[in-house]
Amino acid sequence: MKKIKIIAGIAWAFICLILIIVLFPGLNSFSSSLAMLPFMKINPNYTGGEVAQSLVMDNCTIDIRRPVFDGLFGERQKGFVQIDWRGEIPAEIIDTIDFDFDNNKDFAISINSKSSETILLPFNNKIRDVGISTPTSYGWAVRVNLKK
């Protein structure tokens, strides 16, 4: 039993030696394999959720993302919808948004891209307030807080 323990311990140590030697040359390959696992995607609370509709305007595109209510076990009562303006951003952004695509406008938003002043005009009681309004590398992003 003592000898078996010694052999097992040394064998495990040599396996570890091999693991470390192959770790760095194989890092890209191991990382790519890990990245393909179903849980290896960024939570929508950070990404803003998938783009549900893109509206192509003259100088920019408006991406309306799906509303995010994601919680640990299901949906939360409070969430947000993210709107992205991509391309050339005018000094004053004024748009009305129908984020649930029921053909009724849900809110109007006005953004002064110089001062970042953002004014929200809700058209229904699901709209709470402006969570984030910020310039981005691609244009502008706004998160409007929602309730169910």
Partner: protein, 383 residues
Amino acid sequence: MDDTLSGTSLKKSFGKSLLYSLPMILITFMFISGGRPDFSNPSSALAMMITFILVNVLYFLMHYTGKTDKFRAILFIIFALSLSFTLISNMLEMRNSMSFSQADILECKIPFCHLVIPMMILPAAFTKSIIFPGSILGSFAGIASMVVLWLVATLVLGRGFCSWGCFYGGWDDGFSRIRKKPVIKKISDSWKWMPFAVLFMVALTSALSLGPTYCDWICPFKAVTEFEEVTSVASAAKAGVFISLFAGLVVILPFLTRKRTQCSFLCPLGAINTLSNKITPFTVKIDKANCSECFKCVAACPLFALTQEGIRNGKVSVFCSKCGKCIDACSRNAIHYGIKGVPAGTMKKFSRNLFLFISFLFMAVFSSGSIVNTFRGLLDLIF
């Protein structure tokens, strides 16, 4: 087997030390130079050469002198400093600031570090997603590559990751070495259980909020890496917490106690690495036949892993990070690197050589990128 070693027998001759260093020289040359050194950029070539020489001289000296900790600590501290230098210089180049904005979060541009791992496990299981605004396969601090690196390192080294791989550990390790004798000598070692409480708290709160609460509110190393732009009372409070914890746990307490207090009392990943110490084949063993119970090792241990009672019973606790400080402190060579299953007091040289090769190789290759980058940056500043 070498079971009757005297206190100095871990030393090797110059030739033998060089022979033992050869595999490290070859492998680090391949990784640092990419196998094909590029001399077109003199500062890059010089930075690579300095890094290559530095890591190999340190490894050679571990064999030549028979001492481990002081040479490990040199590279470990340089790693911590260079990582912060690399990260800060990258951020200043990209954003002109050490702080990140809401846009950086929305665009998932935050560099990932291994301290997030304890917080992402529960949400990954329940929501099948990662609660961190980084990139999964980014070229700099991508989530997948950091997880793979940590996973293999913690499997192989256990809590040894905290002394051979963690690019933050070098900060409090460095400050704990400034004074020769501690000002505060008596600290209850029950504090070492605190990281488990922190782990439980941050795992739970991160799962409930779907955000990395340790990074958002507690992490002391935000003070030397990056932090949220101060735009509100909450973000100002966070910055205050980061700076206070860094000053208290990473600078002042290590300086006064000669212990790595952040690693011992706060780090949630350290708690997980402590658990993985049960899996790793490498350990530190006490050869009771040679032990005089002087307890110099207990005083030397920076992570409260050794107790007088444990030494009497020939046991090292799972909190051990295999830094080698206790081994260097023992004049009778009674405490040594070992392999699980192999009785204490036997195969001392073999176990040490194998452990040093594995752990040092990991640290040398993992740290080389940021050390090269730092030397290059410094050379560019000078010339």
